[in-house]
Symmetry: C2
Subunit: 263 residues, 2 copies
């Protein structure tokens, strides 16, 4: 039997891959260099893609939000994962020898206190990904990287200290696919007509039918000042008659409605 | 008489300074290295600060939105400006000699078509600001920068081509101050209670009194997944009795309300 094919942001050992492996125990993974490439591969035939959509400290992942608008793909699952960070170096590295620390700017920011207490003199070097920082640090002397423990194992690095983040954060990941999912949560995107009370009237459709919104985030349309796209998650499945009725009413009241699916 | 003191994002010749000079014809300008520093200086005594809050192509300016939450300052004016870009080089540079082009990533992205048609082979180099790119290009050979025409004059650069942007964009700038402004537009930030229909009920207060929202943008609180802050602009002044009544009702219905002022 062929394995399920899943694409994720690479290189090996990213938080996205760790999240994806919790959903897909046995799968053939493809490592993409950008979030956009993940959407592109799923659009052109790879069964599933996994991408981060929101972190509790850093906010929304813009490239994912933009790609959800651009591509005609569905959300079929979500997963929330705690983000724990560790400090690692090449075999033989000692904690006290570390002079340079490499990681993604968000990871460096999330370990600010740990770094200032333990490495006030170290040079902090930004890298585009925590996993890529780990891959790079293998060949460097007196250097360490910050990232997921799982990546340290993949790259045979020495664990110097675990859980070094100042504040714990969580990241929400979504699984995207060409096919429909199922479940009791639904995500949509819509744009309002340019008229007074447009958002109020749209939300009234949900409120009147007792549908609870779990997220509402608006973002500038990037076309015209004052135009917004609304990303809304709500409780209920597209298979529910009530939800279908509300979607029809919302379609009437908006200039753009994209249904991202139930999961 | 002392001149009004205004701080803006530097170096000299940024779009922010150009916008600020449209509002303050005669003023003493201080050039800050970050948006955060602009807020900081106004907070500690400089009369006014000018910052970009939104661009029609790039969306919201995150650092400005974050600082509006963090600092206790008021919006006292807004200004929308067309963003036009030009290609400039040191005196003596010819269009055909340009091998390297330096600018802010947004400016490079906005001139993508012009660059691929005219400079398919050129090396594109990212800089943190269009004005800073112009300052730097003065000392480089076979290089050009992309930025505002006004900055080209400041840095005595040669204008190689004007209006090279693929699509025109607009940026909204705001003037911040410790004192209150006045006018018929008001900006607020609020956070909702965690209960069904919370946003709907809050917007109902505006709708019931016929107050028109001109902007509603929500952003993750960066504290907890699923918690959002809403940035709302509406028509009306805090001096209007009706607006005061609605603000009291909104305060009752939300867990956080910050009034950024009328302007």
């Amino acid at each position: 039997m062929n394995k399920t094919r899943v694409c994720v942001l690479g290189p090996m050992g990213t938080f996205t891959e760790i999240a994806a492996r919790k959903v897909f125990k046995e799968a053939e993974f493809t490592y993409c260099s950008t979030v956009d490439e993940v959407f592109d591969l799923v659009d052109s035939g790879t069964e599933y893609g996994v991408v981060a959509i929101e972190n509790s400290l850093e906010g929304s992942v813009n490239t994912t939000m933009d790609s959800l608008i651009e591509y005609d793909l569905k959300i079929v699952k979500e997963l929330i994962m705690d983000i724990r960070l560790c400090l690692v170096g090449p075999a033989g590295t000692n904690f006290k020898d570390v002079k340079t620390i490499i990681s993604h700017p968000h990871a460096l920011a999330q370990c600010k206190r740990f770094l200032s207490e333990n490495f006030p003199e170290a040079r902090l070097q930004r890298h585009e990904s925590t996993a890529a920082a780990m891959a790079e640090v293998r060949n460097l002397r007196n250097s360490a990287a910050i990232g997921p423990k799982e990546a340290a194992e993949i790259y045979s690095l020495r664990l110097l200290r675990e859980n070094i983040e100042d504040a714990r954060s969580q990241t929400r990941f979504i699984v995207i696919s060409k096919g429909e999912g199922s479940g009791n949560k639904t995500s949509i995107i819509f744009a309002l007509r340019d008229e007074p009370g447009a958002l109020y009237k749209t939300l009234k459709e949900f409120a009147d039918d007792g549908i609870n919104l779990t997220k509402i985030e608006s973002r500038p349309s990037k076309k015209k000042l004052g135009e917004y796209l609304f990303f809304v998650d709500f409780e209920g499945s597209l298979k529910d008659e009530k939800v279908g009725k509300v979607m029809n009413a919302v379609k009437e009241k908006t200039t753009y409605l994209k249904i991202l699916g139930s999961y």
